[in-house]
């Protein structure tokens, strides 16, 4: 067991740190959360800067450890978050890299890395959430196209996306897991209507997407026809396995800020609150160690993250909610003011036990796939 990095890795870290120190001060101010076009431009601009500086491929070209260092350092330096690039960089990209044809890789990967495309994820439907394989959006073959009709929901960033990783049913007769295909759908195709949904945090973070005979070329299918469920599992393992790494670093920073705040407003003197902060420190330190453990494991086995991602996601999503609830206790009544720091974070943390698979579903995954308990339901 070893927690030291190789000289090459340390060199990468030093170079990145140096570069961040140079570029971060000159970044334009962050657009307001409601300014979607502004946020899109900002997030893509940041990705372009990373690409031009040679850090574009870090999400799927580099080793897991280098990627870990990248996320740690960017977060620590307060660099922009992946934002609108989340789906493209953290799961559509890796999925296409792992499952796409050579032509598909050429077509989509470089533009994602260069910050030219925003992707969204069209998996969930009104009647297919936890039971994702129950999805009903249909795709008929018509010449070289699929003709797609149905609707998707909770599609994050749909309003500003160029592409959508879309799950469709290509064989309605087959058992539900067998008749699904994974398509890349251009969001400007005729027949697509996006209707923003307001989240409990007040912003339009996600949307409903209605699909009325949208034509998607057969060439845009990643993986075989009706083999989309397997491809989806690859996508989800990236989503759960590696997408949260940088956030743990961010949470540790928040915790230090909270302690300072508590000292300023006197709540630090309450031993119960103080010890709660101490316990959260233990929690996020341990989650960081688990991250390092999982990354080392991925590196050893070379490839797609395993079900260990569910272990991490379960604990992390609850810890994050705990963190911001504690922040509210540090703030006292000021936690009712949306303009105070951490208040919006507290609201958005409520989604963590739901998005990317609810905690209830993750428990079943851990029980059945890791502990070998019999299948429920």
């Amino acid at each position: 067991m070893d927690l030291t990095y190789t000289p090459e890795e340390e060199e990468f870290r030093a170079r990145l740190r140096e570069w961040l120190r140079g570029v971060l001060p000159s970044l334009p101010p962050k657009p307001s959360p409601d300014d979607w076009p502004g946020r899109r431009a900002y997030d893509l601009g940041w990705q372009r800067m990373l690409y031009d500086a040679g850090y574009g491929e870090v999400h799927w070209g580099a080793s897991p450890t280098v990627r870990l260092i990248f996320l740690e350092e960017t977060e620590r330096a307060g660099a922009p978050y992946v934002g609108a690039n989340f789906v493209g960089l953290l799961h559509a990209g890796p999925t296409i890299a792992a499952e796409g044809t050579q032509a598909q890789r050429v077509r989509w990967l470089a533009p994602i890395l260069r910050g030219e495309q925003v992707w969204c994820q069209g998996f969930s439907e009104p009647d297919a959430g936890s039971d994702l394989a129950a999805l009903r959006t249909r795709a008929w073959r018509d010449g070289d196209d699929y003709v797609v009709s149905g609707s998707k929901i909770w599609t994050s960033h749909a309003e500003v996306a160029d592409w959508c990783e879309l799950l469709v049913r290509t064989d309605p007769e087959a058992p539900k897991h067998r008749g699904i295909s994974w398509l890349a759908m251009p969001m400007d195709a005729p027949g697509i209507t996006v209707r923003p949904l307001r989240t409990l945090a007040g912003s339009a973070e996600f949307a409903e997407v209605f699909l009325d005979e949208v034509r998607v070329p057969v060439a845009n299918r990643v993986g075989d026809e009706n083999d989309g469920w397997r491809v989806t599992m690859v996508t989800l393992s990236f989503e759960r396995g590696t997408a949260f790494v940088g956030e743990v670093v961010a949470c540790r920073r928040v915790l230090v800020e909270l302690a300072c705040q508590a000292r300023e407003n006197g709540r630090w003197d309450d031993p119960v609150l103080r010890r709660r902060l101490g316990r959260l420190n233990a929690e996020f330190r341990a989650l960081w160690r688990l991250t390092q453990w999982n990354v080392s494991e991925a590196e050893a086995s070379g490839g797609v993250p395993g079900v260990g991602g569910s272990v991490f996601k379960l604990r992390y999503s609850h810890a994050r909610q705990d963190l911001y609830d504690t922040a509210a206790d540090v703030l006292g009544a000021e936690s009712l003011d949306l303009d105070r720091p951490w208040v919006l974070d507290r609201l958005s943390s409520l989604s963590y036990t739901i998005a990317a698979g609810t905690s209830q579903i993750q428990h079943s995954i851990v029980a059945e796939r890791i502990l070998g308990l019999p299948r429920g339901r």
């Binding site: 067991m1 272990v311 059945e368």
Partner: protein, 293 residues
């Protein structure tokens, strides 16, 4: 960075598990419960011969010359097997108290203000045990004494090895819970197919993996704050895990016959060893503001 067990570490863990399976299996455990407060001296010497106590002693001094990570793996196995005795105190005495290293001498310690373990059977007691009063110990396998005025600085290594034992307990109760959930049937199906039971088991596993990462990392860094964090998570994993395991066992879990209560009681005992949780929490809280001022 290769934060994974090396081949040698895997081998050490497997060898320790085999040794304990040979000398302290379920039968021996039951026998120990029937003969409370007597330490199996033969087993203690076996452990000594296998290098359990001298693991971190330099080879020049007759030890095995390994480090904290290896000690943590061995103690995890001891915890998993529910091995009784003042393991940590004797391990820490190796090289300082003659006979501790090879297991011919049993060493107990008075530390940190918690109840002292195994004063009854120890050949040597480190620390001031004067005025010690026996308790009716909740753990049938660990005799305890209250020692008035006992306090003193907590040894971080003692805390880390205790955390390693707790991790072992957490691993074991997770195995026991899953085993039972796979085989016990109600309503015509294994209870493990019911989601409420799956949740109990899954939570246990998640706590194990988080604690494991924290304990192993603390063994690598030997940093007192890392150790405090590892301690908190390992205590939680052991105590909560044992309770949930008991729940999964239903009425059988509440009996003396089932092994679960022994794990829970030992886990409780260890939470009072080498400094308490509040102490770790305070240390971790201070760490958050250590950077400024």
């Amino acid at each position: 960075m290769r934060f994974q067990l090396t081949e040698d570490q895997r081998a050490l863990r497997a060898a320790t598990r085999q040794l304990l399976a040979r000398h302290f299996n379920g039968e021996a455990l039951r026998a120990a419960v029937e003969a409370p407060a007597t330490l199996d001296r033969a087993l203690w010497r076996e452990l000594g011969a296998a290098g359990f106590f001298a693991l971190r002693l330099p080879e020049a001094e007759g030890g095995v010359g390994l480090g904290l990570p290896e000690a943590v793996l061995a103690f995890e196995e001891a915890g998993r097997a529910l091995l009784p005795g003042p393991l940590v105190a004797t391990h820490l005495a190796a090289g300082e108290v003659p006979g501790a290293a090879d297991g011919s001498v049993v060493v107990a310690a008075v530390d940190g203000g918690g109840p002292a373990e195994w004063l009854t059977q120890a050949d040597v007691v480190r620390g001031d045990a004067s005025g010690a009063v026996p308790l009716r110990s909740v753990d049938p396998l660990t005799p305890l004494h209250r020692v008035p005025g006992a306090q003193g600085a907590t040894d971080p290594v003692a805390a880390l090895l205790t955390a390693a034992e707790q991790l072992g307990t957490a691993v074991r109760v997770c195995e026991l819970a899953a085993q039972h959930a796979r085989t016990r049937e109600q309503f015509g199906r294994p209870i493990g197919a019911f989601q409420a039971v799956q949740q109990l088991c899954a939570r246990t596993l998640v706590r194990v993996e988080v604690a494991r990462a924290a304990v192993y990392a603390a063994a690598v860094t030997a940093d007192p704050v890392d150790i405090a964090a590892a301690r908190l998570l390992a205590d939680e994993a052991a105590v909560r895990g044992a309770r949930d395991c008991l729940q999964v066992h239903g009425g059988m879990g509440f009996t003396w016959e089932a092994e679960v209560h022994l794990h829970l009681k030992r886990a409780w005992v260890r939470t009072h060893r080498a400094g308490e949780n509040t102490e770790s929490e305070e240390m971790l809280a201070c760490d958050l503001v250590a950077g400024e001022a």
